[in-house]
C-alpha cells in the first residue's frame, strides 16, 4: 500500500511534526475563527448574534438599503482609488530618486521619507487634524472634493510604502540597458518609458495593491481628518459598533472581507503566489 507508506520524518521537516502542525493549525484557527463566525452570522435570522435561528439575506438587504452605509462604502473606495493613483506616481518618483541619484542630505531625506511609516497613526491623525484646521481647509465642497483632506492624508502615509517597494525592485535593474538605449539615440523620456518603466512594473503593481489596502483599512487617521459630513466605511462601522451591534454590521463587514479576498485574488493572478510572498 504505497499510499500509507509514509517516509520517516527527516530532522528538518518541522512541518511534518505533529506538535508543529497542531501549533500552526491552532494559530490559523485563532486568526480565522472570529472572521468566519462573523461571516456566518451575517446570514443569521436573529437580531442578536447569539444563537442560530435560520438563514436569511435580510441584513444584506438592510445594509444595502442603508444610504449612509452605502455612501460610506462609495467614499472609501473613491478615496482608496484616488490615493492609490497619486501614491503610485509619487512613490515611483521617490523610489527612482533614491535609487538613482546622489544628493546632499540624502540620509536625512530617506529618514524623513520613512517617518510616515513609523510615526504612530494617532500622531499622524492629530497632525492632519491640526493642519487642516489651521489652513482652514474648506469642508463644504461638493463630492468628491469634500474627500480631499482624507485623500491627502492617505497619500501621505501610502506613498512612502510604494517608494520602498519600487526602490527595492529597481535594485535589480541592469544599468547597461539604459546606457544602451541612450547610445542608440533614445531621449531621456523614451528611455524612461521603454526601459525603466517595464522593469519597474511589478513593483508598481505591488505598491498599488499595498496603497489600496492601506487606504481602505485606515481608521485612525481618517477619524481625525473626516469632517461631519464625510464618512468613510471604517468610520461608519466604528460608530455602528460603538452604539449598536446589529447583524447589519456583520453583513457590511462580510461585503468588505469578500472585497479583500477579491483583491487578493487579483494580486494572485497578477503576481502569482510566490510574487506576493516575496514583496512582503
Amino acid at each position: 500500500m504505497a499510499l500509507f507508506a509514509r517516509r520517516p520524518v527527516a530532522p528538518l521537516e518541522y512541518t511534518r511534526k505533529t506538535w508543529m502542525r497542531l501549533w500552526v493549525g491552532a494559530t490559523l484557527v485563532f486568526l480565522y475563527a472570529p472572521l468566519l463566525v462573523l461571516m456566518v452570522f451575517s446570514f443569521n435570522d436573529s437580531k442578536r448574534n447569539v444563537a442560530w435561528k435560520g438563514f436569511t439575506l435580510k441584513y444584506y438587504e438592510k445594509a444595502l438599503n442603508n444610504d449612509t452605509l452605502v455612501e460610506a462604502l462609495v467614499n472609501s473606495l473613491t478615496i482608496a482609488a484616488l490615493a492609490t493613483v497619486v501614491s503610485v506616481i509619487l512613490g515611483a518618483l521617490a523610489g527612482v530618486m533614491l535609487w538613482r541619484f546622489r544628493f546632499p542630505l540624502k540620509g536625512a531625506v530617506e529618514g524623513v521619507m520613512s517617518l510616515p511609516i513609523i510615526v504612530p497613526e494617532i500622531c499622524m491623525g492629530v497632525a492632519m487634524l491640526i493642519f487642516f484646521a489651521k489652513v482652514d481647509w474648506p469642508t463644504d465642497l461638493p463630492w468628491p472634493l469634500n474627500l480631499s483632506a482624507i485623500t491627502i492624508a492617505h497619500i501621505t502615509f501610502c506613498f512612502p510604502f510604494v517608494a520602498m517597494v519600487v526602490r527595492s525592485r529597481m535594485a535589480s535593474f541592469n544599468r547597461e540597458q539604459e546606457e544602451a538605449a541612450k547610445d542608440l539615440g533614445a531621449s531621456e523620456w523614451a528611455t524612461f518609458r521603454d526601459i525603466l518603466l517595464p522593469h519597474m512594473k511589478p513593483g508598481l503593481v505591488a505598491g498599488a495593491l499595498l496603497a489600496f489596502t492601506l487606504s481602505l483599512d485606515d481608521f485612525v487617521i481618517t477619524f481625525f481628518t473626516s469632517g461631519p459630513d464625510t464618512i468613510t466605511f471604517p468610520v461608519k462601522v466604528y460608530s455602528m459598533v460603538r452604539f449598536s451591534v446589529t447583524p447589519e454590521v456583520n453583513a457590511a463587514s462580510t461585503i468588505l472581507i469578500l472585497l479583500t479576498i477579491a483583491l487578493t485574488a487579483v494580486a494572485l493572478k497578477l503576481q502569482g503566489v510566490k510574487g506576493i510572498a516575496e514583496t512582503h
Binding site: L12, V24, L38, A94, M97, I155, P234, V241, T260, I276
Partner: protein
Amino acid sequence: MSLQDWKQHRRPFAAIASAPLFWLVLFFLVPMGIVWLYSFGQNSGPADIAITGTLDNYKRATEWLYLSIFGKSLAVAALVTLICLIIGFPVAMAITFAAEKWRPWLLLAIMLPFWTNLLIRTYALMMLMGSNGYANRGLGALWDGASWLKTLVGLQPLEAWAPVPLLYNNFAVVLGLVYVHLPFMVLPLYSALDRLDKSLIEASLDLGAGHFRTLTKIVVPLAGPGIAAGVMITLIPALGAYLTPDLMGGTDSQMIANVIERQFKRANDWPFGAALSFLLIYAMFILVAIQSLRGDRKKEAR
C-alpha cells in the same frame, strides 16, 4: 553601479525629485511642525491657541496619572510583543521548513488577515468574546464537563457556570492586540529564518545537539536581526494602538493613544494633546535608536 550626482543631471533630478519632496514637506513636515509648536502653547480662547513657549504641557505630562498610563501602555505593548513572539516563532519556523508547494500558501494564510480591515477584525473578536459569545459558551461547556466528571466519581458537582467577563478589561485589550499584530511578527521572522543557511542546523543536529539546543545556540543568534525587526514592527504599533483599547478595553485599560484622542475630541486641550503626541513620537524614536545601535554593535563585532 554608481549613483549619478544630482549636479550633473539637474533637469532629470528636478523632474523626479520635486513632486515627492514637495508633498513630503507640505503634507507631512509642516503638519508635524505645527503640532510641535502647539505643544509649547496654551489655549487663549475658545478656538485660539497662543504659542507662548511654555513648558507647562510637558510638565503636566509628567504628572503621575499620565506617567502611569505611559508606563502601562509600554507594559501592555511589551507583553503583546512577547506573546506574539512565542506564538509566532514556531509558526515562522514551520513555514520556513514547509514543503516548497505549501510555503507560499501558508504565507498567504498569514497575510490575508493582515490585509483585512482592522476594525472588522476587532469587531469579529468582540462578537466571539461577548458574555453570550462562543468563547464564553465553550468555557461553560468545559466547566459543565468538569462538574459532570466530579459527580461521576461521587463528589459534589461544581457551582453553576457564570459567564466570565472576557470583554471590556485589560485581558481583552492584550488578546485583541495579539490578534491584530500576530501577522506583523510572523512575516519578518519568516524572512529572517528563510535566509538562514539550513546546513548549519543540519550540522548542529548531526553533531549531537538536540532540537532545543540547536534552536538556542544556532537559530536564534543567526536570526537575531530578524527577531529584533519583528519585535520593533510589533512593539511600535502596539504602543500607539488606539482602536483596540477603545473598543475592547474597560475604563481602566486606556492607553496613551486614547488619552491623546480625548484631548482633541472631547477635552479640547490641543496643546496638551500635542505635547503627549510628541512624547509618544520621542518614545518611538528611542526604540528605533536602540535597535539601530544594537545593529551597529553587531557589525563592529564582526
